[in-house]
Symmetry: C2
Subunit: 207 residues, 2 copies
């Protein structure tokens, strides 16, 4: 036993958590069984359940461990748009199927009452709020729209596997996406906007 260096003892609990992150990052909350996770670790189902109390608490721990704000907002403010889009586009959904990006767990686990109730809180606390802070904005709406866009791209790319997003040229896609994010980053923190009509926003086909 060394004194100075940390024990770095990898507990079974940690291995369960990592296996859970891997599973929930690839399949939906409902499609991920505790037995699958147990098999990955090589232990009994009962123990993975007991280690975290319930499936939902295990999922909550996995989301919390994946969605750490410092992973997204460590860089300079000027690089934010590029950094964020990189997080979504970094992993090629077909080529790098075995890698795991921090946002994958939100994208894949979605849509079941239990999963949604866990995600609701964490997404706001660990992503939208830090993002709005970084942008020095009082309103969280633009940050929420950025989150929406990134989430949508993540789902269409790596859950649905929509061709135009999977096969598109990476640089061109990155450029187009980053422009949208940057535009939202620069959005005016406009007040409730008392009496301005919804104002149809026209589409100019020729740029």
């Amino acid at each position: 036993m060394q004194r100075e260096s940390a024990p770095v003892k990898i507990t079974t609990r940690d291995r369960i958590l990592n296996a859970a992150i891997a599973r929930f990052s690839r399949h939906s909350y409902e499609a991920t069984g505790l037995r699958d996770i147990a098999a990955d670790v090589g232990i009994d189902v009962a123990y993975v359940h007991r280690s975290f109390g319930s499936k939902e608490r295990l999922f909550a721990a996995a989301v919390e461990a994946s969605l750490q704000p410092e992973r997204f907002f460590a860089g300079a403010k000027a690089d934010l748009a590029t950094d964020l889009t990189n997080h979504v586009l970094a992993r090629d959904p077909v080529r790098d199927a075995d890698e795991i990006a921090p946002l994958d767990i939100v994208v894949h686990s979605l849509s079941s009452p239990e999963a949604a109730s866990v995600l609701r809180e964490v997404v706001v606390r660990n992503f939208i709020t830090p993002l709005a802070n970084k942008l020095e904005m009082s309103s969280q709406t633009p940050a929420s729209l950025i989150a929406s866009l990134l989430l949508g791209v993540g789902i269409l790319r790596s859950v649905l596997g929509v061709a135009p997003l999977c096969d598109a040229d990476r640089a061109a896609l990155q450029q187009m996406l980053a422009e949208q994010v940057a535009s939202l980053c620069a959005a005016k923190p406009q007040e409730p906007q008392v009496a301005a009509a919804p104002a149809s926003v026209g589409v100019e086909a020729e740029a």
Copy 2:
């Protein structure tokens, strides 16, 4: 029995389909049981299964019936951005919880191998491709990004119930979202872009 007017006979099959649309538009594919649908119609499980062959085929029929291109692309090209954002923002996710918007089924049913494989094809065929056509674009990438943004907003608003999107002023949100859609509508159909570096897109905090 009248001659001229159509029989308008509402078959049990139709009632099953409508109940399925309602269920899948509110809960995930996996969380929606055939027994729930059967109970809504007031019949036995066996019959809802037999009427469509399998749960997956019933889901496919429900998606097909919900996601009809003419619902989204009937208006003028100039109103497209406003129309599309209206489809996502029209229904207040908490106040109008009992209404069903055509896009809800895509948003809520997401994320399970079976559901994803059904959605993959239909979303491209019934939304992205018609949208790219309406925009007279050769590339489907901008249309896919629009779909991403709308899907993301839908999920954050009505699945996760993220506060900044639910409570935000409708007009302001509509304005901000429509601007993004319009900007993507006007995207240049740029070629694979041979040798341009990813080009960090800066964020100007002060607009």
